[in-house]
C-alpha cells in the first residue's frame, strides 16, 4: 500500500517535472511572445539611454519584437540592476550593464558583481582621455607628468563625479605615473568639460567621445587616450601606451539579464543583440557619438567585467573612496 502511494507520488512528480521541462522548452522556442522590457540605468538623455533606445528600435525592426525601454536611475546604476536581478529570468526583463557594475560592490553601494547576473553582451565602449586647456604649457602625456612631478599638487583634474569611471580613470593615471593631483568631482562629464572650457580647472579626464568636438574647435587639447588603440574621433592623439605609460581605462555599456536565464532564450537574445549591434545603423549611431562598436559576446564580456572588477576594487580600497 505504502509503496504504491510512494510510486504514485513519484509518478506525479516526474510527470510534473517533464511537463515543466516541456513547457520551458516550448517557452524558449516561442520566445519572445510578449513585450520585452529593457531597464536602462541612466536617465533619459544620456549615451546609455540613447544606446538602449537604439538597440530596442533595431530589435523591433530586425526581429519584429516589441521592446520598451524604461529608465530607473539611481545609485550609479544599482537601482536598475537590482530591479532586473529581482525579476523572473524569463528573458522578458533585461537591463543595461553599465561599467559601474564592476565598481558598485567595491564602492559599497550595493552587492552586485558581474557574477550575479547573466551578461548578454557588450554593445558599446569608449576610452578615457586626458584633456587640458589649449594654451597649457604641456603637449603630451610625458610633459604633463613632468610638470606634475615638478609642481606636486598644483594640478587639479576634473572628473564626472565621485566613484564614476572617469574618476577611477584619473586615479589610474596618478597610480601608474606616480604623480600627485587633486581630484575634483563635477556633475557628469559635461560638467567637467564645461569647467575646463571655462578655465576653472587645469585638466579633465572624461571619455574620448565627450570631449573630442572641443579639440576640433581648438578650445582644448587632448594629451592622451587611455585606450588599446587610437580613437577614431581623435586620430592625431597617441594612446598612453604609445607614449610609454601602461594605462588603459574603458567605459563600457552592455546588456544583462537576471541570473538563471534559460540557455535557449539566452542564445536567441544574444544572437538578436549581436545582429543589432553589428548592423550598419548601429555602427552609424556609435560613430555619431564618437564611440567604438565592436560586440563582445557574453563570455568575453564577463572576462573583461571581472578583470575590471578586480582592478577597480583594489584601487577603490587603496584610495579610500566612499568610506
Amino acid at each position: 500500500m505504502k509503496k504504491s502511494v510512494f510510486a504514485k507520488v513519484m509518478a506525479i512528480v516526474s510527470a510534473a517535472a517533464i511537463m515543466t521541462a516541456a513547457f520551458s522548452v516550448a517557452a524558449a522556442a516561442d520566445y519572445p511572445e510578449d513585450t520585452i522590457n529593457l531597464i536602462c540605468h541612466a536617465a533619459a538623455g544620456g549615451g546609455s539611454d540613447a544606446m538602449s533606445r537604439e538597440v530596442a528600435q533595431l530589435l523591433q525592426d530586425q526581429q519584429g519584437w516589441t521592446v520598451t525601454v524604461e529608465n530607473k536611475t539611481g545609485g550609479s546604476g544599482s537601482v536598475a540592476m537590482q530591479y532586473v536581478m529581482s525579476m523572473n529570468p524569463d528573458g522578458y526583463t533585461i537591463g543595461t550593464a553599465p561599467v559601474e557594475l564592476s565598481m558598485i560592490n567595491a564602492l559599497g553601494y550595493a552587492e552586485i558583481t558581474p557574477d550575479n547576473v547573466d551578461l548578454l553582451g557588450c554593445t558599446m565602449h569608449w576610452p578615457a582621455a586626458l584633456y587640458v586647456s589649449a594654451d597649457a604649457p604641456y603637449n603630451n602625456l610625458k610633459e604633463f607628468v613632468d610638470y606634475c612631478t615638478e609642481n606636486p599638487g598644483a594640478i587639479s583634474i576634473a572628473n564626472s563625479g565621485i566613484g564614476s569611471i572617469w574618476h577611477i580613470a584619473s586615479c589610474v593615471l596618478a597610480d601608474k605615473t606616480g604623480i600627485e593631483i587633486n581630484y575634483v568631482p563635477y556633475d557628469g562629464a559635461q560638467g567637467a568639460i564645461t569647467a575646463l572650457l571655462g578655465k576653472e580647472i587645469e585638466a579633465a579626464v572624461v571619455g574620448s567621445s565627450e570631449g573630442y568636438t572641443y579639440v576640433e574647435s581648438g578650445d582644448v587639447k587632448c594629451l592622451a587616450v587611455f585606450g588599446e588603440e587610437k580613437s577614431e574621433v581623435l586620430p592625431d592623439v597617441e594612446t598612453a601606451i604609445e607614449q610609454g605609460y601602461d594605462i588603459t581605462v574603458n567605459c563600457w555599456v552592455g546588456l544583462l539579464a537576471p541570473k538563471g536565464l534559460d540557455e535557449a532564450v539566452k542564445t536567441t537574445l544574444v544572437d538578436a543583440i549581436r545582429q543589432a549591434v553589428e548592423s550598419d545603423e548601429y555602427i552609424e549611431f556609435c560613430k555619431g557619438r564618437g564611440c567604438d562598436y565592436s560586440f563582445l559576446d557574453p563570455d568575453e564580456f564577463l572576462e573583461m567585467a571581472n578583470a575590471d572588477t578586480e582592478y577597480y576594487a583594489q584601487l577603490i580600497s587603496e584610495l579610500g573612496i566612499a568610506e
Binding site: G75, T194, S217, I321
Partner: protein
Amino acid sequence: MDYLSAIQHVLNPAVLLFILAGVMVGLVVGTLPGLTSVMAVSLITPLTFKLDSTYGFAMLLGVYNSAIFSGGISAIAINTPGTPASIAQTFDGYSLSRRGRTGFALGVNTIYSVFGGLFSTVCLMIACEPLARLALHFGSAEYFWLAFFGLAMMISISHANVVKGLLAGAIGLLLSTVGLDPLLGNKRFTFDNVSLLNGITFIPVMIGLFGISEMLYQMYTHKKTDERREEDIAHMGDKERVLPTAKEHRRMTLPALLGSIIGVVVGVVPGTGGDISALISWDVTKRISKHPEEYGNGSIEGLAATSASNNGAVGGALTTALALGIPGDSSTAVLLGALTMYGMVTGPTLLTKSADFVGRLYIIMLVANLIILPVGLLTAKACIKLLSVKSNYIQMAVLLICCIGAYSMNRSYTDVIIMFIAGIAGFFFRMYQYPLGPMVLGLLLGEMCETNLRRTLMLSNGNPVRLINTPIAIALMILVVAALVSPLISDLRAKKKAK
C-alpha cells in the same frame, strides 16, 4: 545665415503638421504632473529617426516648448505644477483660479509663455555664440551664489510667516542632503536603501506637497470652498474671459520682458533651467512692482513674469546646446542626442558646419511658439468647461493621476511612497500655515548650493577668497546681500510709519 531658404523649408504643410503634432503631445505630457518634457522628448526621439531631420526636429521642438508652457496649466487649475518649471506659476496662477479667473490665468499663461518663447528665440538667433560663451564664465563660485540667491528668496515667498517659511525651507535643505555625498561619495542618511542613494527625488515631493495635499485639503475644507465659489461666480461677470485687456497688458509687459531676460540668462547657464529662472523672475519683478502686496495673491504681473520666464529658458538652454554642445538641461541633452542621430556633430563646430539646419531650427522654434498661441487659448476655453464640473470629480481623478505621475517618472514605487509622505506633510503644513514654496526651494537648490561651495573651496585649497574673485561672482554676491537685507529695511520702514 540664410533665413529665406530656412523659412521656405519650414513653411510647408508637412513640417507645420509635425510641429502641431508635437505641440499636442507636449500639451498632454506637460499638463500631467510627473510627466516631464524630458520624458516626452525621449519617448518621441526614436520615432523621429525614420523621418527627415527637419520633420523630426519640428516635432521635438514642438513637444519641448509646449510641455514647458502646459506645465502651467495644471499649476493654475489644480495647484500642482505639471513640470518643475511651473512651480512659481502656482503662486499667483492658482490664486487667480480660486477667484474664478481660471480662464483668464490660462490665457495669460499662454500669451506670455509664447512671448517668452519668441523673445528667447530671437536672442538665440542674434547672439547664440556670445551668449553661450557667457555660460562658460559660470564656475563653481558663481553657481554657489546663484543657488544662494535662489535660497534667499525663501524670505519673500513666505512674507506672511517668515519663521515658519524659513523652517520649511531648512527642512527642504536637510532633505536635499540625503543620498550620496556629491564630493566624497559616502552615503548620507540613506539607511542602506538603494533607492535613496541618488537622494530624494524632487518631482514626487513636488507632486505630493502640492497635488496630494491640495486635494485632501480641499476635501477637508469642502463646505467653505463651495460658498466661496458661488460668491465668486456671482461677482465675476467675466468668468469666461480669457484674453487680458489692453490695460492689463500694459501692466504685464515689463515684468514679462524682465522674466524673459532672466529666463534666457538662467537657461544659458548649464544645469539651471526654467524652474530656477521662473522663481527668480517672480522675486525680482516683485521687488520692482508697484503692487508687491498682490504677489502670491493672484498678481497678474507675477503670473506673466513666471510664464514668460520658464519658456524663455527654453531658448537659453538651446543656445548653449547648439553653440557649445553643452546641454542646458536634460531635455536639451536628448535633443543633442537626436542631432547626433541625424549625423550632425554636436559641439562648437555645429553652428558653422550645419548652419543651414540650425537656421531651420530657429524658424521651427518661432513657428512652434506661434502655434502654441491658438492651441493654448482654445485649451483655456476647454479647461473652463472641464473645471466647471463638480469639484469632487476632479479631485478624485487628480489623486489617481498624481500617483501614476509620481510612479512613471522613474518607474519607482519608492517615489510613490515619497509622494505619499510628502502629501501628508503638505497637509499638515497647510493646516498650520507653513508656506510650501520655501521647502521646494530648499530641496531644489540645496545640493547645488552645497556642492558648489565645497567644490570652490576644494579648488582653492580652502581659501574662501575664491568665492568672490570674479566680477560675476561679486555681482551675484551683492544681489544676495541685497535680497537678504531689503526685507529688513522695508520692515523697519513699515514700523516707523506705524509709529
